[in-house]
């Protein structure tokens, strides 16, 4: 197509005088295909002028897109420090000895608490549920694979708070069973894991009638 060169870049128009879509021409140049001209564009002065101008306009954008961006060197390390901080503080016990630090994963505390609760006469089922604060909840959510299915626990330093939801047999004295769970779990965690302050919250969620089952 022949004709006079366009006097201005038609960025306010939908189409060139030849009918070519301005948006498509911009897309073509922005995708680096300004030189890949179809049969019409090879003949059309309007398209050729627009493609040339758009290519020049887009050049600094393409240059900037291709240039590397310097990333702050400590970024990844700072992220992992924070993630570890969240996990370590909430999900490991910590005892400093003369030989170094001893950490015990919360899931170990949880497993031991659940198993020791199940040893108490009258307990039929011991299940866990999360009743922790916001920080513990976040860590629990993030590391849900580590969350023990049968006991919820929050630990910090040599202190542990364990929540146990239990089901007891029909006719068993609920209050006595709950007190016995608290005593036994506390003693177990102190003796076997070296924890100092242990709180065991027991919730009797249900009673079952063994004869009816």
């Amino acid at each position: 197509m022949n004709g006079p060169m366009p006097a201005r870049i038609p960025l306010d128009d939908a189409c060139l005088p030849c009918g070519a879509d301005v948006d498509l021409l911009l897309e073509q140049t922005a995708q680096g295909r300004g030189a890949d001209r179809d049969a019409h564009q090879q003949r059309c002065v309007h398209c050729q002028a627009a493609l040339g101008e758009f290519t020049a306009l887009w050049e600094p954008v393409a240059e900037m897109a291709a240039a590397p961006v310097s990333v702050p060197p400590g970024l990844a390390a700072a992220v992992m420090r924070q993630v570890r901080h969240l996990v370590r503080d909430i999900w490991y016990t910590l005892e400093i000895t003369e030989l170094g630090a001893v950490r015990i994963a919360a899931r170990i505390v949880a497993a031991l608490a659940r198993d020791s609760a199940r040893m108490i006469p009258g307990v039929r089922v011991a299940l866990g549920r999360s009743t922790h604060g916001k920080g513990a909840a976040l860590a629990e959510k993030a590391t849900f694979g580590h969350r023990h299915p049968h006991a919820a626990v929050g630990v910090l330093g040599r202190t542990a708070v364990v929540d146990l939801a239990v089901v007891i047999g029909y006719g068993d004295p609920a209050h006595q069973v709950a007190r016995e769970i608290q005593r036994h779990v506390t003693a177990t965690l102190r003796d076997q894991l070296g924890l100092r302050d242990v709180t065991v919250n027991v919730t009797i969620d249900d009673v079952v009638d063994d004869d009816r089952r």
Binding site: L11, D23, L26, W58, V69, A76, M80, L138, T143, H146
Partner: protein
């Protein structure tokens, strides 16, 4: 090692796996945040917060998209929050100055002017248009990937891109 494998392990509590993901994707998180906000400090905050938020919400990541697409989504949302809070304290251009001894002083000055112009033009775009330009032309994401990041349809993404390119070209034309 695939991202999907690392994500699966990270979800099980293996922090080493998440550390590899952070090492792989922190540069992207920072780069996108920098281009969307134009501010070095905001970009660093956004990237850091986004990567921690991703860890905190790993249980919500269903694997329907890639980890990087999910992270793009978190970064752009946080950048939008930062931008709409009205802060405007640009401390750094989108393109950090790189020493190039081969470049003549005149060329360098011209290039910096061009970089400034593109930076200004980009930041002058409405956030949705800026987002599609950054994701498509700077990050090389496809329309489908951008649709996944933004929750828009592919035609809507293309439409935003058309408008964004026109607006950017007009500003650059005025600058020239």
């Amino acid at each position: 090692m695939e991202d999907a494998y690392l994500v699966a392990r990270a979800r099980e509590g293996y922090l080493d796996a998440y550390e590899l993901l952070v090492q792989r994707h922190s540069a992207m998180a920072y780069r996108v945040a920098l281009r969307l906000t134009g501010n070095h400090h905001d970009a660093q905050d956004i990237a850091q917060e986004a990567l921690i938020a991703a860890w905190e919400n790993l249980d919500q990541f269903r694997g329907g998209s890639s980890f990087s697409t999910w992270l793009y989504q978190i970064v752009t949302r946080r950048a939008l929050n930062k931008v709409t809070r009205g802060r405007d304290a640009r401390s750094l251009d989108l393109l950090p100055e790189i020493a190039d001894p081969a470049m003549e002083p005149g060329d360098k000055a011209e290039r910096n002017l061009a970089v400034d112009a593109v930076t200004d033009a980009l930041l002058a775009l409405p956030f949705p248009q800026r987002t599609v330009i950054v994701l498509h032309h700077f990050e090389r994401l496809s329309y489908a990937e951008i649709a996944s990041v933004t929750g828009a349809t592919e035609p809507a993404v293309r439409s935003h891109l058309f408008r964004a390119r026109r607006a950017l070209a007009k500003t650059l034309e005025d600058w020239k």
